[in-house]
């Protein structure tokens, strides 16, 4: 089976400082990979390198494109990479404001990716947008409201709808539940788990919330100071942590 994403020895330096170094893994279709670690451990740097937002200093990120099979997205030319970013990839930001156009209505936000790949029929775009708002539990009569009139949880769900509307195969998520209260987090996680299973999505989720990866991720990668210190099946890593840092991380979770 061809991996959907093949990451080989990716490194990114900020001057003399390490962003992340020598990260390698394969992600197979339908698989959800969690990346955990403390602040500054290089999680977001790695995610941005994988999603083409930052050029890595070394290594290769090969994506299984629909047309030509595995292609290195680092050396790919920019139009192709940005095209992937609008079609096969999706990126869910921690802050919905970074991923939404706050002065464009919810329908316009969801429709943007469709129009970017050539949809030119208003009625069809609107129907698809309505359908997607329903899937992320936003009432259809909010379609013409701007995201600034939405709650934090709704904004995050809208961001997810906006990203998934073109049927991507790989979703990058950067702290998707950060800053939301626990009941809203739970519903969002439930929703995401449903969508991932239903659409057969592969996803890479960066978070520091172990509960999120426990629920969503099949595999887990633990990062510390730019290095990957432990990888494995989620349950295995969380129930039987081997590396000292992972043990610390697991034992630091507050028990209610």
């Amino acid at each position: 089976m061809t991996p959907l994403l093949q990451v080989e020895a990716v490194s990114k330096f900020y001057g003399a400082r390490i962003g992340c170094t020598d990260v390698s893994f394969d992600l197979y279709p339908g698989e959800v990979m969690g990346i955990v670690g403390e602040s500054g451990s290089g999680k977001s740097t790695l995610l941005n390198c994988l999603a083409g937002h930052l050029p890595p200093d070394a290594g290769a990120v090969r994506f299984d494109t629909r047309a030509d099979g595995l292609r290195d997205t680092v050396t790919m030319n920019e139009p192709e990479r940005r095209m992937l970013g609008r079609t096969d990839w999706a990126f869910v930001h921690q802050h919905a404001r970074d991923g939404l156009r706050m002065n464009v209505s919810a329908g316009g936000n969801v429709g943007e990716r469709l129009m970017a790949v050539g949809a030119r029929h208003y009625g069809d775009i609107r129907n698809t947008a309505t359908d997607w708002l329903g899937r992320v539990e936003i009432a259809a009569d909010r379609i013409d409201d701007r995201p600034s009139a939405f709650s934090g949880g709704m904004q995050q769900r809208l961001q997810i709808a906006r990203n998934l509307v073109t049927g991507p195969r790989l979703v990058f998520m950067d702290e998707p539940t950060g800053g939301l209260d626990v009941s809203v987090q739970a519903r969002l996680l439930d929703l995401m788990r449903g969508l991932v299973r239903e659409m057969g999505l592969s996803a890479i989720i960066v978070t520091h919330d172990l509960a999120v990866v426990r629920l969503l991720a099949d595999r887990l990668m633990v990062m510390k100071d730019g290095h990957v210190v432990e990888t494995g099946l989620t349950d295995q890593v969380l129930d039987d942590p081997q590396h000292g840092y992972t043990q610390l991380l697991v034992s630091s979770v507050l028990q209610v």
Partner: protein, 291 residues
């Protein structure tokens, strides 16, 4: 300083060469915004400094020059620019669209079709059609170079979702030769179909330091949706002075009782028709008008 102390058409020859290079590049890549080193002109930004610089670069001594502002030859902006070139270039000036060889315009395209030996120069306030959708110039230039124009349709989508129709009435975005999305300057969308014409069209934005151009017969398509096609709209009325039903109209409130009058915004077109004997609903025959 006396007027004769100025170089022909105010700008020095080196500056004119620089602007002509930008114009030639613009003509070679229709719809592409060419950066140029815009000069300080003796008028404020927003008064047509871009158009004036382009006009200065293309004018030759035997040209006949016409300036219109919102279609009219006799508004402040038009009069001051016309006088400026009368003084600094000594060129002949006219109100007659057919007699002019260079026409500088703000916000309109003349009603009378232009010929291959004429040049139409537009004053452009904001050359970037994506400006209000994406504030970063770095990003918009990347979007142009990579032909990522989905965002432009988001604006039209928003129009329809809020107003039930594409409410953009002026500066209506167009796609040039299937490549660049261009702001046709704030002309009414009524004028958009005329953008494919026999004359050369040059666009100058002074404050924004951009020049772009449309060579003759360039294909210019107004953006739209399949189920909401582009429509060139105008007030549903005939000109009250000359009776024209095919020209773009201004609506004037003429008394305190809300009485109104529609008249051609192209004053030369209107007066030419009236001189030929056409009379609108509230018009008077030309002879009495003169007396």
């Amino acid at each position: 300083m006396t007027v004769s102390a100025y170089n022909f058409a105010y700008l020095d020859e080196q500056t004119k060469r620089m602007i002509r290079r930008a114009i030639l590049k613009g003509l070679a890549i229709p719809g592409y915004q060419v950066p140029f080193a815009s000069r300080e002109m003796p008028m404020p930004y927003g008064w047509g400094t871009g158009g004036v610089q382009v006009s200065a670069a293309v004018l030759v001594p035997d040209d006949t020059f016409k300036v219109i502002d919102q279609g009219a030859d006799d508004t402040t902006n038009a009069v001051s620019i016309r006088r400026f070139f009368e003084k600094t270039a000594g060129v002949a000036v006219t109100d007659d669209t057919a007699k002019a060889s260079v026409i500088q315009t703000r916000h309109r395209i003349p009603e009378m079709p232009l010929r291959a030996d004429q040049i139409l120069v537009y004053q452009v306030p904001i050359p970037e059609p994506l400006r209000f959708l994406e504030p970063s110039e770095v990003e918009t230039r990347k979007m142009h170079s990579l032909e990522e124009y989905g965002l432009m349709h988001v604006k039209l989508y928003e129009d329809i979702s809020q107003h039930g129709a594409i409410a953009t009435a002026y500066a209506y975005p167009v796609k040039v030769e299937g490549r660049y999305v261009m702001d046709p300057s704030p002309i009414p969308k009524f004028d958009n179909p005329k953008l494919t014409m026999d004359a050369i069209q040059l666009f100058g934005a002074g404050r924004e330091q951009r020049i772009y151009a449309l060579p003759p017969h360039t294909q210019v398509v107004s953006l739209d949706f399949e189920d909401f096609p582009f429509e060139a709209s105008k007030a549903d009325h005939a000109c009250d002075l000359c009776g024209a039903v095919d020209s773009y109209l201004d609506e004037l409130i003429v008394d305190d009782a809300g009485g109104r009058l529609f008249m051609c915004s192209d004053t030369d077109y209107c007066s030419t028709r009236r001189a030929a004997g056409h009379v609108g609903a509230q018009g008077v025959p030309v002879k009495e008008d003169v007396a």
